[in-house]
Symmetry: C7
Subunit: 245 residues, 7 copies
C-alpha cells in the first residue's frame, strides 16, 4: 500500500511516533452525540443525548446495560459499539458461569482495550470508531472508565465524550470536587447540567432526547428513558433557577 | 494499495473519521427502486415498486418472506440481498430448532448488522451494496427496522429507502402520527401513498409493478403481488379522490 | 494495489456505487456468440450459435445438459463456464442422492449466483467472465433464468445474451406475448428467428453452427446438433416465407 | 499492486473484458517449437520438432506418454509442462485404480483445464506458460484436444501450436477433409508435411530433431524418436516428390 | 506497499542497515512521562512521574506489579504496555505453576524481547510503542533492565526513559558509583532526584504525581502512591537543602 | 506492488511471455565459479573451481555427494544450494527406505525442478539463485543433468555453468564426440581442460582450487580435493604438452 | 509494494542477480563491535570488544555459550542474535536428548543458515541483521564458522566481523600460517592482537571491554570477562613490547 504519508495503516508509525489511523478513528467518536459520566462515593451515573436519525425513527440507544452491575454509554459508530457491547456482555456472562462472580469493572475495560489494541497493531484491520464510558460497581466501589479507539482505558471522577463534550468537561472540572458526597439524585442532576452544555444553540434536553443510567451500592444497573427522565429534568430546571438567583 | 485518498478500502479511516467505502456502497442502495415500511400498534407493512430489467423479464422480487413472523424489502444489489436473506432465513430456522421459538426481530437485525460490520472493518472485503427494511412481529409487538451497508440498524415508525425515497420519507413525516391507530388496510394504503411519491414523472403504481407485504398480530407474513394488490391500489385512488376534495 | 480509479478490484466500490470489475467481466459475455432462450406454458427452449475457433476444430459446445430436467447455454469464457456447469451438475446429483428429488431450477440458479457473488466481494479473485441461460422444468413448470457475472439471476419469458444479443431481444419483445401458447416445435422456430437476428452480415444459421436444447412437461432435457437441427431450420425458412407474404 | 493497466494480474479484468496475463502467457507457448496433431477415423497422431538447447544436450522431450491410451505434445515452458503431465499421469493412474478403467480423454483435458482456470482467477499465481496437444483413444474413438494457458480446451481434427504453427495450420486446413480415411502411416506423413512448414529457412526435419507419437484402435500410445522416425521421413520425401510431379 | 523510502515497514532494511519503523516507535516512548530505575547491592527501585489526562482523571498507572519479585515501569503507548505486562504476568504465573519457582528476571525480559523482535521482522505488524524498565530480585540479586521497541534488552545500574529522560540519565551518571552501598530509602531518594530533573519548568514532584516501586532482598515488590510517597518526597527536599548548603 | 515493468514478481508474465525474475535469478548463477560435467558410456564426471572468500577461509564446497550413485556441483547462491542438496539427500534416503532402491537420477532432477517451478509461479517467493549440474549412475547408465532457476532440467553429454562457462562449453563442443569411449581418467582430464578455459587471466587450476567428482559403472560417487586431484592436474599438463606438439 | 528498485523486498531479484535486502542487512552487522575468531590444531578462540550503551549499563554480552562444546560471538542487532542463539541452544539440547550426542558444529551452522535462508526467500520477512562467528569442537576437531545474514556459512582458520573488522582480517592474514601450532594461550593473545586493530583511535582493550571465549580438545566452552581477561591482556602488552623490539 501507499504509505509514504504514514496515515493509511493502523500498523504504521509516523516518524513522530504516531499512528494516524487511531487519530482518525477518534474523529468518528466526536461525531456522536455527547455522553457524560460522573461518580460519587456510592454511585456512578451516565447521562446522554439521544439523536434520532429522522422524525420517523425511534431514538437511538445511547446507554446499554451489560450486566446487573455494569453499563456503557456510546459515542461514534453504532455498528462498532454493538460489536463491543456484545463482547462485554459475553465476557460478563462467562465470568458468572465460569468463576461464579460478577466481572470486575477494571477487568472488563481491559478486555475491550486489548481487543481494540489488536486493531491498532495488525495490518488489514481498522481501529474501532467508537468511544465508550463504562460504569460499574464492584467490590472496590463505583467506577467510571473511558475507552477510546486506541485501546487506552482511563479511570475518571467525571468525564464526557462525543460532540461538544469539551463544554461538558469544563463544567465537570468546575464542580467535580463536590461529586463525592452527592446523593444519586443530585449526581444525576449534576450530570444533566454538564450534558446540557453540549447542546447546540436552541436545543434543549427533554424527556425524548435524554437518557439516564446509573448503578451503585445497593442499586442495580438502571436505564431511564422518556417519562422516567422527567423528574430529573424538572430538577435540572429548579437547580438552574437556583443557580441564577 | 494506494490509499492516500482514504477511499479505496473499507478498513481505512479518512482524517475526518469517515470510511468512504461504506458511503459508496450506500450509493448502490439508491440505485434500487423505492421500498416503504410503516407500522401501526398491531401491524407492520412493506410496499415496494418492482422493476423489470426488461419487458421479457418477470418482475424482480422486492419483498421476501423470512419466516411466519418476519419479512424484508430490499433496495440495491440483489446478489448481495440474496446472501443476507439466506442468512436471515437460516438464523430464523436455527432459532426454531435450537431454542424452539421464533427469532426475535431485533436479534435478527443485529445478526445481519454484525455480519455487515465485519465487511467494514476487515481488509479485502467490500461492504454489502444493499439496504433492507425488515418487518416482523414478536412478543414485543410489530417492528420496522432499516439495515444499511454500514451495519447500522435503526428502528422506525415508518421509513423508505431506494431511488427517490426522500419523497416518500417526507410523505411519511407529514402523516406518521396517525399510523398507530390505523387498521391494516388503512396502513397499506398509507404506505402506497408514500410509495407513489417515489415514482418518476408519468409512471403509475399498478398491479404489475407493486408489491405489498405485511405481518402483525394474528397475521402471518403475507406477500401480495399482481391481482392481490389491486384492491389496495383501488383504495389508493379513492383516498386520492377524497384528499383532493 | 493502485486503486484510485476504483476499477481494479472486485472488492472496491466506486464513488457512484459501482463495482467496475463486474462490469468489465460482463464485456467478456458479449464476446461469446449469442444464445436465446424462451418458454411456453409447457416447455422452455434454448437455441445457440456455435462458433468454431478454426475450420479444423469441432464446434464448441454452447448448450450443456445438467440433468434430466435442466440445461444451460453459455456465452463468454468457456473455462469459467466449465467450472460453473460442473458445479451445477454436482449440486443436481447431490440433490438426488441426499433429498431424493430433482434440484428445483430456482435453487440451482441461486446456488451459482451465490458462488459468483463471493467473487465480487472477496479480494484476490475476479468475477466469472461468463453469462448463462438456465432452463429447467420442475414442480412449478418451465423456467428460464439468466445468470450474469454479478451473481444476479433473473427469470425471463424469453431472453438472449452474447454478441449482438440486443437484436434477438428486440425480436423477442415484439413476439413474446404469443409464446405462452406455442407448441414446442413452434417455440424452437420462434427462438431460431430471434437467434438469426444476431448473425453478422452474410452469415446464416445452418445445421453445423446451430444448437438446440429444450426441456418441459413430459420432455427430458434434449440437445440437438448437426442433422438434428435441420427440420427446425427448414421450418424457419418456411416461416420466413410466410412472414414476407 | 500497481494495476492501472489491468495487465499485471491474472485476477483483473480489463475494461474490454480481457485478462491480459492469460494473453501474455500464451506468448510463451509461441516460443516453443511447433507440434502438430491430426486424426483419422481410427488413429490420432502427434509430430513435433525437438529443439536442443545446445549441441551438447540431448534433444528435449516434446511428446510424452501419459498412459497406454493417451499422450501429449508440449510447446512452451517445459517446467510448467512437467507439472501438468505429472498431474495427468496421476489422474490416469487414479482412474485405473479407483474406477478400474482408462481415464476418458475428454475428462483428462477438463481436469487440466480446471487446474489452469484456477490460475487465471486467483490472485498471486500466474497462468501456466505452456500449450498442449492431447491425443488419446477411448470408447468414443480417437481424440485430439488443444489445451491453452486460459484453461480452455478445444477438440480438433487437426491442429498445431508453437513457433510458426500458423503455417502448419494452413497446411492442415488445405488437407483435413482427407484425414478421416487415412491409414496410420499416411496420417503420420501428412502430419510431417504440416510440421515441415514450421521449419525456419534452411532447416530440415531429420531423424534427430523429429518426434512422432500415435495412439488409436488396437494401437497403444507409441513414441518414436531417432532412427524410428526415418521410415516416415523417407516417405515424406517421396510424397514430396509426388506432390511436385 | 510504497517502500522506496524504507521507512514504512518493520520488515524492510534501509541501505544503511536500519529498520526505520523501530526508530519511529521509539519516538512514542519519548512521549511518555519519565521513569527512573536504579539499584544498590540489595535493592532495585523505580520512580515515575504520573500524568493525568485531565483534572477529572485518576492518575495513570506508571509502575505495575508483575509478581512478588518483579515489577515494571512504562513509558509510551499504555495500550501496548498493558499487552506486555499481561504477557509478563502470565509467564510469571506459568513459571510458578510449571517449574515451581519464580521466573528469573533475565528470562522474563528475554521473553518480552523475543515477543517484540517478532514485530520487527514480520510484515503486517508494527513494533510496540512502549519502553519498559523492569526491576526484579532473584537468586542472582537485584536487576534493572531496559526493554525497548526494537526488542533489545539491556541491563543497567541506573537508567531513565521517557520525556526529558536525558536529564535524569545525566544525574544518574554523576552519582551511580555511590548507588551500590545505599540503603533502600537512600536509593529511592536518589531516584527521585534524578526524576525531578525531568520535570518541565515550574512543575514539581508531589505525592499526587509521583509513583515509587521497589523490590529486593527480603523485600517483596512494593508500589507506593499518594501519601505513601510523601516521606520520600520530604527527604528529597531535605537532601536538596543539604545539597545547596 | 509496483509491477508495471513486469519484472518484480516471479508470478507475473511480461507481454513478451517472459518471467523476468527467473532471468534475474539466472544472473546469480553466473556469479558462481564454473563447474563442468561430462560423461562417457560408463562414467560421468564433475570438475569445479573452488573459490575461497578469503585467504583465511577453507575453500567452499563445490561438489556435494547426494548418495552412493549421485552427486551435484553448484554455481550461485550457496545458501540456496544447501536447501536443494538437503532436499535431494532426503529424497534419496526416502527412496531407499520406502522403495528399497536408489533414487533414479531423472526422477531426482524432476523433484528439484518441480520444487523450483513452484517458486516461479506462486506470489511471494523468489526463484532459487543457484544452478546445479547433477551426475548419477542408475539402471539406465550414467547421466548428466543441468538444473536451472526456472525449474527446467535438461540432459547433456557435457555442460558447464557459472562464471565464464561459455568458454568451457565451447571446449566441450569441440570435443564431445570423443567422450563416449574415454576411460574415467581420460574423462576427468578432458573435463579439467574445459574447466581451465574458465579461469581468469593469470590464474591456474591447482590442487587447492580444484575439485573433482565422479560416479559410474562399479564406481561409487567419489569426490577428490587437494592432493587427490594432483595426479589428474599433472596429466592435464602432459596432455597440454601433447596438444601443443 | 513499490519494487521498481528491487531493493525493498527480500524475495525480489535485481536484474544483476542480487537480493539487495540481504546486502542492507549486512550493513547492520558492520554496526556491531568487532569480534575475532581463530583456531589452532586443538583449540578455537573468540575475542570480542564489548560496547556499553551507556556508562550506566552493564557491558553487552558478545560471546554466548551454546553448549559444552560450542559458543558464538555476535555482531549486529542483538535482538536478532538472541533469537538465533536460543534456536542453537534448543537444537543442541535436542541433539543430546534425541541422539544422545553433542550437535556436530557443521550441522549447527547449517541449521541457522537454513533458518536465515528462509527469510531471504519468503515475502513479508526481513533477513536477520546479525553476523555470528561460531566456534566448536567435535569429533572432527576444532571449527570456526562465519554465519552471515544471507544464510551463507563459511569455515575459516581465522576471521573477524563487525566494525572495522577489515583491520583484524588483515592482521590475521599476515599471521594465520602460524596459528596451527599455537598453544591455547598463545592463540588468545594472537586473537587479541587482531582485535586491537579494530579499536578506534585512542581506545584500548581493557578488562572491562574485552571478552574471551574458547573451546577445544579437553577444554569445555569457557567465557572470560572482567578480571579473567587481564592475564591475556597483560601478555598482549608483553607481546607488543617484543614486537617492537
Amino acid at each position: 500500500m501507499f504509505r509514504n504519508q504514514y496515515d493509511n495503516d493502523a500498523s504504521t508509525w509516523s516518524p513522530q511516533g504516531c499512528i494516524f489511523q487511531v487519530d482518525y478513528a477518534s474523529e468518528a467518536v466526536k461525531q456522536g452525540t455527547a455522553v457524560v459520566g460522573l461518580k460519587s462515593k456510592t454511585h456512578v451515573v451516565l447521562v446522554a443525548v439521544k439523536r434520532s436519525p429522522s422524525e420517523l425513527a425511534s431514538y437511538q440507544k445511547k446507554i446499554i446495560r451489560i450486566d446487573d452491575h455494569m453499563g456503557i454509554a456510546v459515542a461514534g459508530l453504532t455498528s462498532d459499539a454493538r460489536v463491543l457491547s456484545n463482547y462485554l456482555r459475553t465476557e460478563a456472562m462467562r465470568s458468572k458461569m465460569v468463576y461464579g462472580r460478577a466481572l470486575p469493572v477494571g477487568r472488563a475495560v481491559s478486555a475491550i482495550g486489548d481487543k481494540a489494541q489488536t486493531n491498532t497493531q495488525e495490518y488489514g484491520r481498522r481501529p474501532y470508531g467508537v468511544g465508550l464510558l463504562v460504569i460499574g460497581h464492584d467490590d472496590t466501589g463505583p467506577h467510571l472508565y473511558e475507552f477510546s479507539p486506541s485501546g487506552i482505558v482511563s479511570e475518571y471522577y467525571g468525564y464526557s465524550i462525543g460532540a461538544r463534550s469539551q463544554s461538558a468537561r469544563t463544567n465537570l472540572e468546575r464542580n467535580f470536587e463536590r461529586f463525592e458526597e452527592l446523593s444519586l439524585q443530585e449526581l444525576v442532576v449534576q450530570g444533566l447540567r454538564a450534558l446540557r452544555d453540549t447542546m447546540p444553540q436552541g436545543k434543549q434536553l427533554d424527556s425524548m432526547n435524554t437518557s439516564i443510567g446509573f448503578v451503585g451500592m445497593d442499586t442495580k444497573m438502571t436505564i431511564l428513558d422518556g417519562d422516567g427522565t422527567q423528574p430529573y429534568l424538572d430538577q435540572l430546571d429548579e437547580a438552574e433557577a437556583m443557580d441564577t438567583e
